[in-house]
């Protein structure tokens, strides 16, 4: 009968020549997937509400910005996501070369208790809205958003439209009169709209985009392109400000992801 030293030796000997083939790429991929799953868990509640609510016709009332930027009145009613309130047109259009043009719209989906912020694309020719991204917004009773005791005030996404053109869209977890978005020392005034006690914002900026994997790693991105977002009250006093962080520029996407795989887009205003 072997004694414990024999057992120890046997365990070590049996694994002595084993070599793993786990690569850093594989680890990073799994980490990204895990982070995505974690984020999606919040959005899942919203998605369930959206699914349960069915798919009503898209509200075609003027929705902020320039009414002329809204689709033509003759466009047929078309299926769209169940908006919570009205969606807002960012007045930014993207176009496939010689192909379809899309308006970028933002808004809330779901219910006041289970809301999500979405960026969507409205096909100019059909009026059909293609939701692209949905981020769950877990409402904190004291303002902002909260998950597992962590509270944050800004959630934003960056659409990369060119080497020096970005569209930053997002939501502030309170009521703000104005919001600025800055990177590399240059601030731009965002368009704002109130919804469900929060403030949606969007701004087309001439700025260097965040790297595609800026927030894909274990550390917050600290390069000069990271965003500083500030919300102000009616008196011009800052309410909250954030620089960088996983929720700021949470998703960074280039034209290839918008909204069809072949789209090489042209930003117009």
């Amino acid at each position: 009968m072997p004694d414990l030293d024999d057992l120890r030796r046997a365990l070590h000997d049996a694994t002595e020549d084993l070599q793993p083939t786990v690569t850093m790429d594989r680890i990073r991929r799994r980490a990204r997937r895990r982070r995505a799953v974690r984020n999606a868990a919040v959005a899942a509640g919203v998605a369930l509400v959206v699914a349960a609510a069915g798919v009503p016709a898209l509200d075609r009332a003027p929705r902020g910005g320039d009414p002329a930027a809204n689709p033509p009145a003759t466009a047929p009613a078309c299926p769209g996501p169940p908006w919570l309130g009205t969606p807002f047109d960012t007045e930014v259009n993207i176009q496939e070369p010689g192909g379809r043009a899309y308006a970028v719209v933002v808004g809330l989906l779901g219910t006041p208790d289970h809301a999500g912020f979405t960026t969507a694309f409205r096909d100019w020719s059909t009026g059909q809205v293609l939701p692209w991204e949905l981020t769950g917004l877990p409402r904190s009773p004291s303002g902002g958003f909260t998950v597992e005791g962590k509270t944050w005030w800004f959630q934003s996404t960056q659409l990369v439209l060119g080497a020096n053109d970005v569209l930053d869209v997002g939501v502030y977890g309170g009521a703000a009169q104005r919001i600025t978005v800055a990177s590399e020392g240059h601030a731009a005034e965002a368009t704002v709209a109130q919804a469900e006690g929060w403030t949606l914002f969007w701004v087309l900026r001439a700025a260097k985009p965040l790297p595609p994997d800026a927030n894909g790693g274990p550390r917050e991105y600290r390069g000069p392109e990271r965003l500083t977002i500030t919300a102000y009250d009616a008196a011009g006093q800052p309410l909250h400000t954030v620089t960088g962080g996983f929720n700021t520029g949470n998703r960074v996407v280039g034209p290839a992801a918008i909204p069809t795989p072949t789209a090489a887009c042209l930003a117009t205003r």
């Binding site: 120890r8 365990l11 070590h12 680890i27």
Partner: protein, 167 residues
């Protein structure tokens, strides 16, 4: 352990040891072991800013053991799937490194997942009973009784007896 300069350094320094632990926990299922190591390191990667200045290897190892336990629980609810169908010991088991490893792994596979985890923590990683209990989320008494059962099984295991040459 000195603080590694980067996560890549950490992976280079500890992935082999984690893989050895994972292989023992899975009873020699190297594919599952690699999955466990990759998952444990991915979670360590996400927690890196928090754990890098502490016991990062301990964090990764605990994560790996917990992942194995979770995986086993999920598996048990469905059906028992194994890449190692039951085999009879053969003459080839008594010579060479590969045969030695197979022999030990087969012995480990006769244990329950908890017995195997206790044996690996106690005799491969040389953790105390108290540490083992904390890591597995059970009482020290459970560790003692589980360990006793495991050792009893291993002592009567024909493979392990053949490997060590004692009867």
């Amino acid at each position: 352990m000195a603080e590694p300069e980067s996560f890549e350094d950490f992976v280079r320094g500890c992935s082999r040891q984690l893989f050895r632990v994972a292989c023992l926990l899975t009873g020699g299922d190297t594919h599952r072991a690699e999955d466990l190591v990759a998952d444990a390191l991915a979670r360590t990667y996400l927690a890196w800013p928090r754990v890098r200045s502490g016991d990062a290897f301990g964090y990764a190892r605990r994560t790996l053991v917990n992942l194995h336990t979770d995986w086993w629980r999920r598996l048990r609810r469905r059906e028992l799937v194994t890449s190692h169908p039951p085999e009879r010991a053969s003459a080839a088991d008594h010579g060479g490194d590969l045969a030695t490893r197979d022999s030990i792994m087969r012995s480990l596979r006769t244990l329950t997942h908890r017995e195997r985890a206790v044996v690996v923590l106690r005799y491969f990683l040389d953790r105390t009973e108290r540490d083992t209990a904390a890591e597995l989320g059970v009482s020290v008494g459970t560790v003692k009784s589980t360990n006793a059962r495991a050792l009893k099984k291993l002592r009567v295991s024909p493979e392990l007896t053949a490997r060590t040459g004692r009867v």
